[in-house]
Amino acid sequence: MKCDSGAIVVGAGIVGAACAEALARRGLSVRLLDARSGGATAAGMGHLVTLDDNDAELALTRDSIVRWRAWAPAMDEGCAFRGNGTLWLAASDEEWALAENKGARLAALGEAVDLLDARALAGVEPALRTGLLGALRLREDAIVYPPNVVRWLLRRHPGQISERHAEVVEIDGRGVTLAGGERLAADVVVLANGIEAATLCPELPIVPKKGHLAITDRYPGVLTHTVTELGYLGSVHNSEGPSLAFNAQPRPTGQLLIGTSRQFGSRDRDVDGGILARMLEHAAGFLPVLRELNIVRCWTGLRAASPDSLPLIGRHPDRDGLWLAVGHEGLGVTAAPTTAELLVGAIFGEPAVIDPQPYAPERFLGRSGAREGAEDA
């Protein structure tokens, strides 16, 4: 493809930064625009997690984590990469069976997994409550500090990516219009601004799912892995009312990052004391010592969710020149590298790194997509 005037990427979160980096790597000059309205990248946990709810999610997260691990040696200390793995905790016979199935499935694919029985689990994470049946460990999972990964990505191709604080008010395949009326033209426009994408393209089926997080003071050594409950899987797909799931992550600072909650339809950023308290109560059920620890900060973020919980990656079927990388819900950080390769590979007509079909925007947009979307709703 011919790219005389370069590319515009809207949204300087992790997905936009990864797309900008992939475009710059292929020789394009990239203008990265961000409204600084507070995106999910700065609010999230930075958990690089292999999820296998369905084949498409598994393919995306697996491929992405391989790419993260390839980036890791080059990243600076500020990126805070730690390959500390995830422990999926089983609290019931049903969840233990789930752990075994999940483990067998991932092992068959060549993932580095192992099952820990109750005793082994207590050995590696003694702060967890007693009575857990065990855990499935995913050794390839990791953590990062996403805001600094964004900065690292944008520095990789000096002179090729220019970042600008600007609010885009109109977008099409030929360029964007900024608040204030300025028009910027480009051959390629990538929309990667998460929850704000639907403001610019109302046809996108992106809705906010609000989450709460809390972080403790520094208590090094309380946990070593990111620990999360297998009940999480049931919880995140509950579409009625707020849902809670235990997720605790030891940060390199010695702090513990505690999540997580999901609320539908809420766009305000206020910390909801009731939800926060229930989330912490739930977390303390798994990590009893948490009750005695100090929380230093709490905040919220808005995940940009699509109807089928998979992102929209690819060409906008109705707007020539506009490319989409949105709707990652809680997986934007994990999936950013592969999202960028899929999208930018498609822009350049390269063979796809994984089957792109499950993420194709056509499933919601265009003539056939509009119908599917209507049935979904």
């Binding site: 700065a42 912490l280 620890l293 230093v296 905040w299």
Partner: protein, 432 residues
Amino acid sequence: MSVALNRECDLLIVGAGPAGLAAALEAAPSGARIVILDDNPRPGGQIWRDGPGVRLPRAARRLRSRVAAAANIEILCGARVVAACPPKALLIEMPEGGALVSCTKLILCTGARERLLPFPGWTLPGVTGAGGLQALIKGGLDVAGERVVVAGSGPLLLAGAATARTAGAKVLQIAEQAGREALVRFGRGLWRWPGKALQALRLWSPVYRAGSHVFEALGDQRLEAVRIRSADAVLEIACDRLACGFGLIPNTQLGELLGCAIVNGAIAVDALQATSIADCYAAGECTGFGGSELALVEGRIAGLAASGQPARAAGLAPQRERWRRFAAALERAFVLDPVLRTLPTPDTLVCRCEDVPYAALAGCRDWVEAKLASRCGMGACQGRTCGAAVEFLFGWSPPAPRPPLFPVRTETLLRLADRRHSPPARPAEPGR
């Protein structure tokens, strides 16, 4: 979960300094059930901080004993407000645990804190705030025979020096950054507040130097000397302690969290000390720096207004006006010199909690970017210290506060889920 610590009251006052105590006393005859919260171990606030061997001024003792004698005033010391629990309750943390305090009306008397500005060496052991050293001495720190330099800006320097001297320290120099001319002008106007003129004379020290500021603290493991610059000289003074504060900043965090309008960095109030939100008043330094006299009269007005006595409250307006003029004169005299922005070197720490040097911030465009890139303000003090410094250095306004306002035990935050935190309110008791 036990809810035994939860409280309900008619009037909740946050802060037991002069403003809070005065507010409670004026409201007490109405019979309202009054709760005063304070995060210090004893009432009195910063100015009347109590401690072993402290002899408080007569006015302070009288106010405290009258408050103690009022049967309908309960003071909860060591209680810190960490979150709001709408519609009308605050989550507090006390040594014995967390509790929800629900109220009909609220008066914020959250005071002010010292502005600390970074310069090379300011994080060395032995360097404290000017008010900070005062508090340490009142808390029992022995400074007898120690060599102390006091520096920064504002009347607190003289007060801090006096406390140190009384405790047996040798105060070698008081470096006030404000220029001589501004101070002379201020001094000439002091006749309008004779009490203040007397106080200034009493605190006056021959080692007071206007138009000078500390620009470096030297030492290996702890402070050994300071370097002070004035128009005509650079001076190195060997010392054991540096007490250094650059004026006071209103504590507006709780007000902001509740949604009160903030103007010029202080909680905005009307003629009756009412904030922009219903049933919420504010008095004292959190509405702007002005000293204890202004805090007392503002507290009285707020207490009267919040207990249904607006006419009596309005009658105190002239007194308040008199002390507001004094506050304005102070503000004019002690404006910070822009040269103080040039003190940090690239490796001077700005955020002590997260060890963030000046160089890590210098390239950033705003507070949010700085915070995300460097962790500035993300530590235990939640940006209370570095936020004000950064605002002065770079002009970035800190973001709106979020709960928890202070680091808090998880157990305490769990109380936010208490369903029945607010039992049906009983009618107020008739007046005594």
